[in-house]
Point group: C2
Chain length 194, copies 2
DNA sequence: ATTGTTTAATTGAACGTTCATTCGGTTGCA
DNA sequence: TGCAACCGAATGAACGTTCAATTAAACAAT
């Protein structure tokens, strides 16, 4: 298509990636635009060519990161498998994404607990909502799960997976398939119809 | 005892309370010392009479808030009850604390996911560690729970309760005993020995 | 009780720094 | 030649922190 599009994306992506890393390391207030620019090898002014403000930069980074999470979760989706198998695949994918992208996980957690999330509740990943949350809804409708509000189910699952991923990461442990399955089993046992 | 002690504490407490509220509302970077001072009805300089820096103010607020959480969790502790009953009491207490102290919950979650927590891992509530975490350890030792590392168990439980409290708070719903028990049941079903 | 003395608490303007953002100018591609 | 991408010094606002000055409290001596 367009060569310029590559340039456009490469600088833009570099800015987003640097923001993710620096926010993870130093928090929102500890990641100034000047440092983000330096880390991304662009001029400070260039950031404002792609983003209106620091605020929109953060919000767009959130959407992009959650899109990536949704894509990772959906990887290897197989309609022919049982609901439980698909659920475990979802959970293991999410767990692995967190392990492999610690900065993404930390950023997402920081964002969710920050004023941003409350100020822009409509700014979110469409893919995540339409595929991942819909899958959980199907689990409730299909009576695999307890009758819980799906908006409660999502954060509950996230909480456990984040806890597990944080633990593994802080211990610098190599994670085996059993480790992951054990954690997912906690989630499943908690929410399944007894 | 000492009249001065009252004054000492009242200003200090006012500063801590204002910080909690403003950090919850605007985040760490959105809560400047000048605003904290104004909200607490003290001069900017007064804050530095009680705290070395903004950083130590935040850290000391974290410890105080987690102490308060620990006290709330331990309320009505009855050694004669069964382990499961005591566990449910712990969980319901924690859930209620979150519901009644939204700013404390939000602050704790923000803190845990911020660089502060990684930079000062030794700065934490002694009460929480010696009573609450010890209780979970006893649950593992006593074979009520799956064989999980207690450092994994804690955040897992927290994740679910925070998710539930956030949900209830965002929906402005009146919480009934059944609501709470339903959530705790999720946690219990997840981690108990099957 | 009163007065003088010392110490602690409190103030808020001032300081130096850092920050997000701007903008006039430059480059490089179409 | 035109236009979007890009630069980076400049700007002004906002920030955390300091400090000289003021007030209040505690204590001691009378």
């Amino acid at each position: 298509m367009n060569v310029q599009l590559n340039n456009f994306n490469s600088k833009r992506e570099a800015i987003l990636n640097s923001t993710l890393l620096l926010v993870k390391e130093y928090g929102f207030h500890g990641a100034p635009m000047s440092q983000i620019a330096k880390h991304a090898n662009v001029a400070a002014g260039t950031i404002y060519h792609y983003f209106d403000s620091k605020e929109t930069l953060i919000v767009e980074l959130y959407i992009r990161t959650k899109d990536q999470l949704a894509e990772a979760i959906l990887e290897g989706y197989d309609e022919s498998k049982s609901y439980k198998d698909r659920f475990f695949r979802f959970m293991i994918n999410q767990y692995n994404f967190y392990i492999k992208n610690e900065s993404a996980m930390v950023f997402l957690e920081q964002y969710i607990n920050s004023p941003f999330a409350k100020n822009f509740p409509e700014k979110d990943s469409v893919l995540f909502k339409e595929k991942v949350i819909a899958f959980f809804q199907a689990g409730i409708d299909g009576e695999y799960f307890k009758k819980i509000d799906p908006r409660l189910l999502g954060p509950t699952i996230r909480g456990t997976l984040v806890a597990a991923a944080n633990f593994r990461l802080s211990e610098h442990m190599i994670y085996s398939e059993e480790d992951i399955t054990e954690v997912v089993q906690i989630v499943w046992d908690g929410i399944k119809r007894q």
